[in-house]
Amino acid sequence: MHYKWWGLIFVLPAVGFFAAFNLFPMLFGLYLSFTDYDLLNPPIWVGLDNFVNLWDDRLFRQALGNTLVFVAGATVPVWGLSLLAALVFDQAFRARDWLKAAFFLPVLPPIAVVAVLWRVLLHPNGVITSLTGGWWGVTEIRWLADTALAPFSMIAVHDWAMIPFFMMIWLAGLAAIPPEFREAAAIDGAGPVRTFWHVDLPQLRSTAVLVAALSSIGAFQTFALQYVLPNDAGGPANSTMVLALLVLKYGFQYFRMGDAAAISVVMFAMIMLVTLGQLWFNRRA
């Protein structure tokens, strides 16, 4: 047997696994998005109806809006604050490593555990209310039960858990910058701000694309927080209903698998567009 066939045979198990557990579900999901399927009867082909109907679907529009708000809150502030934290921990100071480890702790538990913890902390008469409400004499704040506050509580908890993760990526990027660059800038009389702006930041461009892509993808796919943190998943009044949660609801609670698959395809397209945009921006810059 020719040697190239041996190569194909060796990769076949991995390719087979990928085809069975990644490619096939994706293609089957795409097929389902063109059908009406209630799980109990065979799917019926409906063409583009599911996609057309989405634009008239009040719940989808609300979930889309909520997702975009969440993505905005879970990306831009995270980029800035995680970079700031990385710049702080990039300096040499006493007990830095201990503090860095402590700062990283929120990343370790699964997000569902984080949500359960914050559900207790954000009780209307709980610890966070005592800490913040005391300033203006309020003893009850409905962090999770008020339609205006609940979406921002989700963002705050998400950012608390994710900033340390992205800080580590920035730190890796900072560590990769050759020290000579900063030394040269210092010799030329650049202060810390100018050095950061003209030396560090351009060197961190590929790290920034990675941070932006990972955080955007994660934010678009957010699910566990909105499922666990509010009193009822996606509530109150759907103010925290996001697209991934709507997929679950439509598919497995409403038995509208075709609509759920169509939303998944829309999510996929959105994530793809944002990621391609970020890559294009990186190349152009």
């Binding site: 209630d38 009850e140 039960a145």
Partner: protein, 429 residues
């Protein structure tokens, strides 16, 4: 030669038929998790298998949270159980998808429907009758009533037996006397609250109130939402006042059952007769009380009733279906043990005449309440309709005007019901 062939064929068929009849039928049984019931289920199954050596029951218990989803995904994959139970709110979905089979009275060893109804003193079947046929047998018939924590009432100088309000209009004043507030008026101990945490509570409670007012959330016969009526607006205004103007409770607090059992809530209305052992375990001194009515109410009904039914998979092979109905009869004939050991009430003589029934001080009260109870409407797409109602409830609680919210909710429910009915007709072949 032809004769020989025929003899050989006949012998072959006879052998195969003989083998087939000797093969035991395996009945796959799924039940939702109710821990006190599991040991009883196993004992009933063992007894049934001993009496019917040709039938094997393959028993699976599934957590309540996953149960309905697992059932549907199993049916989708063609691996659904032959016999299973579930609640009356979901059976319309099963009926429309043609998952459930009509009762096979012969397989149950009964002459006809009348013989079955006679065992249940005639009640409990309204939730499982479709187009004149019955599709399941009740394993539990239940409704909620109100319970008071006597200690908290006494501390407030009240007696639940005397001071429990007869009307919803009188409830806030009594609840206020039982409520303890901080300096900002925030309740630190509620006097009474609704169960905001259980979604289904907002199927039963508003419907109960509407039934009392001679109305309904949904007109099942006309298949239309009837929320946008003066009665509908009155009910949702009540919830808005309760949480907003009166600040007596709301969805932001710990769920009412948990707080009641922890001795932190003076009264609530979402326990059935099965709640009594939990209160006894929590060492509460309790009183069971009737559900209040609206002053202008025209119907003297308590909380809407619901049931769990044992049903048979219409897609199972015929021998498995027959064996499943035979088992369903055997299982439900153990109603006395299921009530004594697991608190599952059905109106059968062996339950109402049992020592366990007589020993439960709340049991006669609930039987009386059930006689006046009505089933909530049954719709295709129950979960979606309930979600639309919960969205409306949440908006009302957030302070949006009831006059603006209720018409939108009504329209949304109508859209869902029409779409789901059309889908059911299209998808089922």
């Amino acid at each position: 030669m032809h004769i020989l062939k025929r003899i050989a064929a006949a012998t072959g068929i006879a052998l195969w038929t003989g083998l087939a009849s000797a093969q035991p039928v395996t009945v796959k049984m799924w039940m939702h998790e109710h821990p006190p019931r599991i040991a009883i289920d196993k004992a009933i199954i063992a007894e049934f298998e001993k009496a019917n050596p040709d039938i094997k029951i393959q028993y699976d218990v599934i957590s309540v949270a996953d149960y309905s989803t697992k059932l549907l995904t199993a049916f989708a994959a063609g691996s659904g159980p032959d016999v299973f139970n579930n609640t009356s709110t979901l059976v319309t979905q099963y009926f429309n998808a043609r998952i459930i089979a009509p009762i096979d009275y012969a397989a149950m060893g009964l002459s006809d429907e009348a013989a079955l109804l006679a065992k249940y003193q005639g009640s409990g079947f309204d939730g499982i009758r479709f187009q004149g046929k019955l599709y399941g047998v009740p394993t539990e018939l239940s409704n909620w009533a109100c319970f008071a924590n006597n200690a908290i009432w006494q501390e407030a100088g009240l007696d639940p037996k005397k001071d429990w309000p007869k009307t919803w209009e009188a409830l806030p004043a009594v609840a206020e006397k039982l409520t303890r507030r901080d300096a900002n008026g925030v309740p630190v101990r509620r006097g009474f609250d609704f169960n905001w945490a259980i979604p289904g509570a907002f199927w039963y409670v508003p419907n109960t109130m509407l039934h009392q007012l001679g109305a309904n959330m949904i007109d099942e016969a006309a298949y239309k939402a009837t929320l946008d009526t003066p009665a509908g607006r009155q009910v949702f205004q009540y919830f808005q006042d309760w949480t907003g103007k009166l600040r007596l409770g709301g969805p932001q607090y710990t769920d009412s059952r948990t707080d009641f059992l922890a001795g932190k809530l003076a009264a609530e209305c979402s326990f059935g007769v099965w709640g009594v052992p939990q209160m006894e375990a929590a060492k509460l001194s309790w009183s069971v009380l009737p559900v209040p009515k609206f002053a202008a109410g025209v119907s003297d009904n308590g909380m809407d009733e619901y049931a769990f039914y044992m049903m048979v998979n219409a897609r199972s092979p015929s021998p498995a279906q027959k064996a499943a109905w035979k088992f369903a009869r055997f299982y439900t004939d153990h109603a006395g043990e299921l009530f004594a050991g697991a608190g599952l009430f059905v109106p059968r003589a062996e339950v109402t005449g049992s020592a366990a029934f007589k020993a439960n001080p709340a049991a006669p009260f609930f039987v009386n309440e059930l006689k006046r109870a009505k089933f909530s409407p049954r719709v295709v797409g129950y979960t979606q309709v309930l979600d639309a109602i919960l969205r409306g409830r949440d908006k009302v609680v957030q302070g949006e005007k009831v006059e603006a919210v209720v018409p939108v909710m009504n329209e949304e429910v109508n859209t869902i019901m029409n779409r789901e009915r059309t889908r059911a007709a299209t998808l089922v072949k």
